[in-house]
Amino acid sequence: MNKKLFVAMSGGVDSSVAAHLLKEEGFDVYGLTLKLYENMDEEILNQAALTAQAIGAPFFVYDISSEFKKRVIDYFVSSYMAGKTPNPCIECNRYIKFDKVLELARSHGVNSMATGHYSTIEYDKASQRFLLKKAFEEDKDQSYFLYMLKQDILAKTLLPLGSLTKAQVREIAQSQGFSNAKRKDSQDVCFLPHGNYADFIAQYYPQANLKGNFIDEDGSLLGQHEGIHKYTIGQRKGLGVSFGKPMFVKAKNIEDKTITLSSEEALYSSYLRADNLNLIPFESLESPRRFKAKTRYNQKEQWARIEQTDTDKVIVEFEQAQRAVAQGQTIVFYEDEYLVGGGTIL
């Protein structure tokens, strides 16, 4: 009998092709779309259903909107309002996506899953651990978003797109007649369709007055801002006030609704702490080591010294100061092509 496996299908080209490739490889493929929030685009669900049926895979929709709201949206909103820069996709992968797909799989007596992420999982016989490796096409690599996966999840997960380029994936989609073959890539968070954080946050606090003051690093008043939810750390453009010299958002304080502005130099820091630590090639980091790290997805990696200080915490010292390191963002570090670990910046 063929090996059974559940593929998380978003309706997009990547997961469609992932499902198709696994089917070709001889897996008994089941498709599933997680319904993450009310008013999710019906077209997405239809697209996923049609693709699944085109490859003869039973297709399920699993509504987990209550858990998603609690674990991802509420966290996102409260973290954002606390002046941090949360990454909802990371929290979704940490608490929702993999757990829920495997939960549905288990109810069918199935113990494996796959996604359309661009990254590769390898088994290392020497250490007897599953490793997470960057995608063949480094520009598309999504290992950053998977840093939190534990060994038990990595052992059950297949990522069939890791060795392909996006162009190859689109070609496969086109040859299969998938109508999403040419759809533009989206970098947006799924529940923030146009990346409009401010409007989304404002819905949560319709009554609250979020306006307040811009202050400098000494606490002196610089002017008024339009609402604390409308600014992100490191932002320069669109502050709406002229200060005579370039000023940047350095910090946000929800308590008194002040936004601290600074010169660009003051945005740089070389030291940070992170929690939510997950390490992939080993259980713990016995002594401080030098790795290449990045504090945002679209960032070039930089050399840093990483020291584990607690079961789930590290301190990181960059060899060169980094610009606008934001609390709540995810830092991950690599050794060559392999993701070593990561955490949430404190």
Binding site: A49, A57, V61, S66
Partner: protein
């Protein structure tokens, strides 16, 4: 021709063991349980033994079990009794869900006309009530929360333990229509903090026309039928001893075989679901995990539910569209609308409900025939033709 019965959520066959348990109470032990002679006392003893056995299986006390004519009567009685308790404190608000059985919904509709206010909770896309909604719906003047244990059409199982705990914490009475759950799931009124529960014997291989209302001790249960001492003076009328004994035997059999039955049911269920999902433009209704082990609910786009049922009947397969109580009506099911299906899709629904009397061979027969029937009906359907055209213009295959 092969005949296959897969409408067990509507009613089930009496099992041979249940029938055997009932037989003596037709011709031999036929006394009226209220009579003081030995004929009566034998019947009375059988009645009380059944009451005790049923109570134990539900985790209840014997005196908390009231025999009724079935699920609908128990639902009506529980709701009205709970409201009369609330009325003493001026409580006029009820919380329920949009996917209840009509035996609850229509009672609530009438109560609305009589001045009560009802909040009908939405369900998520898989037909599950959201706890956070319930939390915010309960008010100072809420007299009752009534939410079904498991849905009769789409099989979704509600978070009853959490709902019961929340109601107890808020001091609100909680009734659950457990007609589809009892016999299929391990229901325990104490663990789930249930104040009122309705069940019906013919859903688990017991006889028709008999059921139970469980009412927790300490609650003043307002009488339903006046004029006799039966059921502690709250439901007059000579008891249907044979049926009650049959219900007890059926419940015991269901409990003893529940684990083995559920394993077999889930295998057949998974087989049907997986194969039917391979039919283009089909969808599974209800929760893919938290669902009754024998329930399979599907929509096939471009097909009328009635036409599908008739075609299935022609090849010997007895199924239903929505629930048996609403078939024949042209309105799409309120349950399918509540989980967000558009009208035109909700029309093409099919419910297959299995029991432990079904076999895997029957599932294969159903799958084979259903695939042929869906294709044939779609070939004749103008709606399907339109859907296909739209799909082509959208570049879908």
């Amino acid at each position: 021709m092969q005949r296959i019965y897969v409408d067990n959520a509507a009613t089930t066959a009496i099992s041979p063991e249940v029938l055997e348990a009932m037989m003596p109470f037709m011709q031999e032990v036929y006394g009226n349980p209220s009579s003081i002679h030995s004929f009566g006392q034998e019947a009375s003893a059988a009645l009380e033994k059944a009451r005790l056995e049923i109570a134990e299986i539900l985790g209840a006390k014997s005196k908390e079990i009231y025999f009724t004519s079935g699920g609908s009567e128990s639902d009506n009685w529980a709701i009205n009794a709970a409201l009369s308790i609330g009325a003493k404190r001026g409580k006029k608000h009820i919380v329920s869900s949009k996917i209840e059985h009509h035996a609850v919904l229509h009672v609530l509709k009438r109560l609305e006309k009589e001045g009560y206010e009802v909040t009908y909770l939405d369900v998520n896309g898989n037909g599950i009530v959201k706890l956070e909604d319930l939390k915010s719906a309960i008010r100072e003047d809420t007299a009752l929360v009534t939410i079904m244990y498991a849905n009769n059409e789409i099989g979704s199982i509600q978070p009853i333990t959490e709902i019961g705990a929340l109601c107890r914490e808020k001091g609100v009475l909680f009734h659950t229509d457990a007609v589809q759950a009892v016999g299929n799931l391990p229901v325990n009124v104490v663990e789930d903090n249930i104040d009122f529960l309705s069940l019906s014997a013919h859903k688990f291989h017991g006889p028709k026309g008999v059921g139970v209302l469980y009412c927790r001790t300490g609650l003043a249960l307002r009488g339903l039928i006046i004029g006799g001492a039966q059921e502690r003076g709250r439901r007059a009328g000579t008891e249907n001893v044979a049926a009650i004994v049959g219900m007890s035997a059926a419940l015991k059999q269901a409990k003893d075989n529940m684990q083995a039955n559920n394993i077999a049911l889930k295998k057949m269920q998974a087989k049907l679901i997986d194969e039917l999902l391979k039919i283009p433009r089909s969808r599974l209704n209800g929760d893919p995990i938290k669902r009754l082990p024998g329930n399979i609910s599907f929509c096939f786009e471009g097909i009328e539910g009635e036409a599908l049922l008739l075609s299935l009947d022609m090849v010997g397969i007895a199924a239903s569209s929505g629930s048996a109580c609403t078939s024949g009506s042209l309105d799409p099911s309120h349950v399918l609308l509540a989980i967000g299906l558009p009208h035109e899709i909700a029309h093409g629904s099919l419910r297959l409900s299995l029991s432990n009397f079904n076999t895997m061979e029957e599932m294969e027969y159903i799958i084979e025939n259903l695939k042929i029937i869906v294709k044939r009906l779609r070939d004749m359907s103008p709606v399907w033709e339109k859907l296909e055209k739209e799909a082509n213009t959208n570049g879908l295959q």
